[in-house]
């Protein structure tokens, strides 16, 4: 930054300099505060999204577990029905 200041022409600040600086700084701060608040909200959304992802994974895992629990019974029933049918045919 210092080389930039070295080549920049001197500004005739005078008495007005502090007012001009104050005006520009206030505008910059207002925008900065707004962007900061938005960044915090974005972080919160990100956190909620992570929670949601974990919830979805948990639901998916629970559903798979349920299917695994259900499948052996179904296969047993199907096997039993097949045996009955083959006995009837015989």
């Amino acid at each position: 930054m210092s080389p930039l200041f070295a080549i920049a022409p001197a500004l005739p600040l005078g008495q007005a300099g502090k007012y001009v600086a104050a005006a520009y700084i206030v505008v910059f701060l207002v925008i900065l505060i707004y962007v900061g608040i938005m960044a915090l909200r974005a972080q919160r959304t990100q956190r909620e999204l992570e929670e949601l992802r974990r919830d979805v994974e948990a639901v998916k895992a629970a559903r798979e577990q349920l299917e695994d629990d259900v499948d052996p019974d179904e296969s047993d029933r199907a096997g039993h029905a097949r045996t009955e049918r083959s006995e009837q045919i015989a």
Binding site: A8, P9, L11, P12, L13, G14, Q15, A16, G17, Y19, V20, A22, A23, Y24, V26, V27, V30, I31, Y34, V35, M38, R41, A42, T45, E48, L49, L52, D55, V56, V59
Partner: protein, 244 residues
């Protein structure tokens, strides 16, 4: 999850905003000549006037979006109107503070109540400052959007009327530098002013898109959560000033 359309093109727009604002600052301090009367103090003009113009245009933009909501009934227009008015208020407050600092340095007072330009601008700001509390006071989302849109249209129509009324007033101390004939700014000052104006327009557009993208993402997360938890059936979202 559907793609967030508001975040499309946002990095490019943000980059253009930064470039334009840097150019405006450089031109303001190192290219535009010093004003004969005000000297260095006049540099505040390059932020104060664009901020005030964009704030007032932002209110009108919000009113146009509100008209679109009433015509279509699509909630996205209500959200756009809400964010435009929100952004315009922020720009308006920044413009008001920068103007007040300029008034103190130039006229010796932070505020001049006899000046129609200042008072009318304050009235417009205060009018739109009631927009958020109005929204927050109505819990039902449908009614909230409807009443807020009607308010935004009426208040938005007040902005140009107010502007014309102040222009017709004869007694003011606030200078007039822009008019339909191009105003009385010399060339380098005019160039600097227009670059600053474009820079702040881009800043408004960037922040508007940014907030729209954030609100859209948040709404999607909320909808997904409700779907996942299985409470789509109509349990209210809870009170909020922002459209749901």
């Amino acid at each position: 999850m559907r793609h967030n359309t508001y975040s499309r093109g946002l990095p490019g727009l943000a980059l253009a905003t930064v470039v334009m604002l840097c150019a405006a600052l450089t031109l303001a301090f190192f290219y535009a000549p010093l004003d004969a009367n005000q000297g260095f103090l006049q540099k505040i003009f390059y932020i104060h006037v664009p901020l005030a113009i964009i704030a007032l245009c932002g209110f009108v933009f919000g009113a146009v979006m509100a008209i679109m909501y009433l015509r279509t009934g699509d909630r996205k227009w209500d959200m756009r109107s809400y964010v435009a008015i929100h952004m315009a208020l922020i720009f308006g407050i920044a413009g008001l503070i920068s103007g007040s600092i300029w008034a103190k340095a130039s006229w010796g007072h932070w505020w001049v109540w006899q000046e129609p330009t200042l008072v009318s601008y304050l009235i417009v700001l205060l009018l739109f400052a009631t927009y958020q509390p109005l929204r927050f006071s109505i819990e039902d989302p449908e009614r909230q959007s409807l009443y807020a849109s009607v308010f935004a249209i009426v208040a938005g129509a007040f902005v140009p009327l107010n502007f014309i009324a102040v222009r017709l007033a004869t007694e003011y101390v606030h200078p007039r530098v822009l008019n339909l004939e191009g105003g009385n700014l010399p060339g380098p000052m005019k160039l600097t002013f227009y670059v600053a104006l474009i820079g702040f327009v881009l800043l408004f557009a960037t922040l508007w898109k940014y907030e729209m993208a954030a609100k859209d993402a948040r709404a999607q997360v909320r909808r997904l959560r409700r779907t996942l938890l299985g409470d789509d059936a109509g349990r209210p979202y809870g009170r909020s000033a922002a459209p749901l």
